[in-house]
């Protein structure tokens, strides 16, 4: 099916290219040619990397500081004999940040299973709860500690944004977790959660792609995964080909853009050819 769709691509674009003309009602807008080339180059990069990842080619991603910190945090929780609290954001499971948060949960659960440390996950939606239970159960089974798992590790905290914040704050002050891990889509409640966690003396690790919440997490948590780092962390941990491949494709495109910027600036300063590159990037 995929191969079929991909084979169709050139067929769809070819008539447009062939009949390209000018005037007010053109078959192909030449002034948008740069976007088309850019689109095709980028699509090829992403698709090739996804293919490579599917074929099992090892693709390197650097390890993020926040991921090491998770191991440490679970270690400390074990020493103190206190639980680890995990929140995969407050969005539905269709949000990609939630998906990223859940794949990180898998790794955290593997750690807690290994060290035999209690784990508590709180979520806002029933569907997320089901998914989280599945993931935690898998991790415990893989670690050979299936008997330590129970469904009550994942709790559904009903209601709205602020109701969730109030409930989680109550849990934090009651059980005083040794580590709080927030990974996913957070909004205004980020501040409330991070502040209370700080007060109970937990190690706090946060990650979100919502830039307006990042300053609060950085100021109130010990480690923070910022923006794209959240996705990179999930690709690193889950190793799913389509996510890993896309990330590598994006990385390659970043190099292309950076190099293009540097060369153009040098050209702009040294000769008239720089102007030409600026023209090439002009969009209409």
């Amino acid at each position: 099916m995929n191969a079929f769709i991909r084979a169709l691509l050139p067929v769809i674009f070819a008539p447009g290219l062939a009949l390209a003309g000018n005037g007010s009602d053109p078959w192909f807008r030449m002034d948008r040619l740069n976007t088309l080339i850019f689109l095709l180059v980028f699509a090829v990069m992403v698709l090739v990397y996804i293919r490579l990842a599917k074929m099992g080619r090892p693709l390197f991603l650097r390890k993020l500081a926040g991921l090491d910190a998770m191991d440490e945090a679970v270690g400390r929780a074990t020493e103190m004999g206190k639980p680890v609290l995990f929140i995969p954001g407050i969005q539905e499971v269709s949000e990609i940040q939630t998906i990223a948060g859940l794949s990180i949960l898998g790794k955290v659960a593997a750690f807690t299973a290994e060290y035999e440390t209690p784990l508590l996950v709180t979520v806002q939606y029933p569907v997320v709860m089901a998914a989280a239970q599945e993931i935690v159960k898998d991790s415990y089974t893989n670690a050979g500690k299936k008997d330590l798992y129970s469904d009550s590790m994942v709790q559904y905290v009903a209601g709205s944004q602020f109701a969730l914040a109030a409930a989680v704050n109550g849990i934090m002050t009651r059980i005083k977790p040794a580590a709080n891990i927030f990974m996913g889509a957070f909004y205004a409640e980020s501040l409330l959660l991070a502040e209370t966690g700080n007060l109970t003396g937990a190690i706090q690790i946060a990650g979100t792609a919502n830039p307006e919440q990042l300053p609060f997490f950085i100021a109130a948590c010990d480690y923070t995964l910022m923006g794209e780092e959240l996705y990179a962390a999930s690709a690193y941990l889950s190793g799913e080909p389509k996510i890993l491949g896309s990330l590598k494709g994006q990385d390659l495109m970043k190099i292309v853009i950076t190099v293009l910027m540097i060369i153009s600036i040098i050209l702009l300063l040294t000769s008239w050819k720089g102007i030409f590159i600026l023209k090439l990037l002009e969009t209409a």
Partner: protein, 211 residues
């Protein structure tokens, strides 16, 4: 806005009920929360009924004879099959249609509307722009800032050596920007509080007069 005292009392009572959450979760807050959720859902019902079902479906069909609008209507109704396990896969057709449309718009938006113009705008003379205290050129700051930020978010290489140092510069830039964001956000949050406090004390209770 000329609200009557009765209207303001309703609003004021609800505001105080919500604020009572600051003390702790209590029945007033819970009542207000449920009223809010109910009215909001009802708002959507009224809005969609008028703006979509009447204005986009009923009127074009009956007054302009655009009977083909029956199709999007059916596709919309098909979305509700997701509540029935055995039929839920039918809702995927409408969902996929919307997602495909959104993805197409999104793709064009990102490449044509953001990446190309933003890249183009970074290709500038490093000595241009305002200079801070006459020593730090703005243009150079933009170029270095954009490139080091891109380097920081590059995941295919360990942050060591020259590459690592560039990424360190990137993180300094990122923190400056987030600091600025922090300062801005504080103002945003306070604005809303000031608005509410003004409503309760000045407009509703008339505790003191402005001017």
């Amino acid at each position: 806005m000329n609200q009557t005292f009765l209207e303001m009392t309703v609003a004021g009572f609800l505001i105080l009920s919500i604020f009572s959450f600051l003390y702790k979760d209590n029945p007033f807050y819970r009542l207000a929360e449920h009223i809010f959720a109910g009215l909001t859902a009802g708002y959507y019902v009224g809005l969609i009924w008028q703006t979509v079902i009447v204005q986009q479906l009923y009127v074009p069909m009956t007054q302009e004879g655009k009977w083909e609008m029956v199709f999007p209507g059916i596709m919309g109704i098909l979305m509700f099959t997701r509540f029935f396990d055995r039929l839920s896969h039918i809702s995927r057709i409408s969902l996929a249609f919307v997602m495909g449309n959104t993805a197409g718009i999104f793709l064009v938006q990102q490449l044509h509307g953001l990446i190309l113009p933003q890249t183009q705008a970074t290709i500038i003379n490093p000595l241009s722009g305002n200079w801070l205290f006459g020593i730090i050129p703005g243009g150079l700051v933009i170029i270095v800032g954009v490139i080091t930020t891109l380097v920081y978010f590059y995941f295919s290489k360990e942050q060591k050596g020259l590459f690592g140092k560039t990424a360190r510069v990137g993180i300094v830039f990122i923190m400056i920007s987030f600091g600025a964001h922090f300062g801005y956000t504080v103002m945003a949050r306070l604005s809303l509080l000031i608005g509410q406090v003004k409503f309760v004390t000045v407009d509703w209770l008339g505790l003191f007069n402005l001017n």
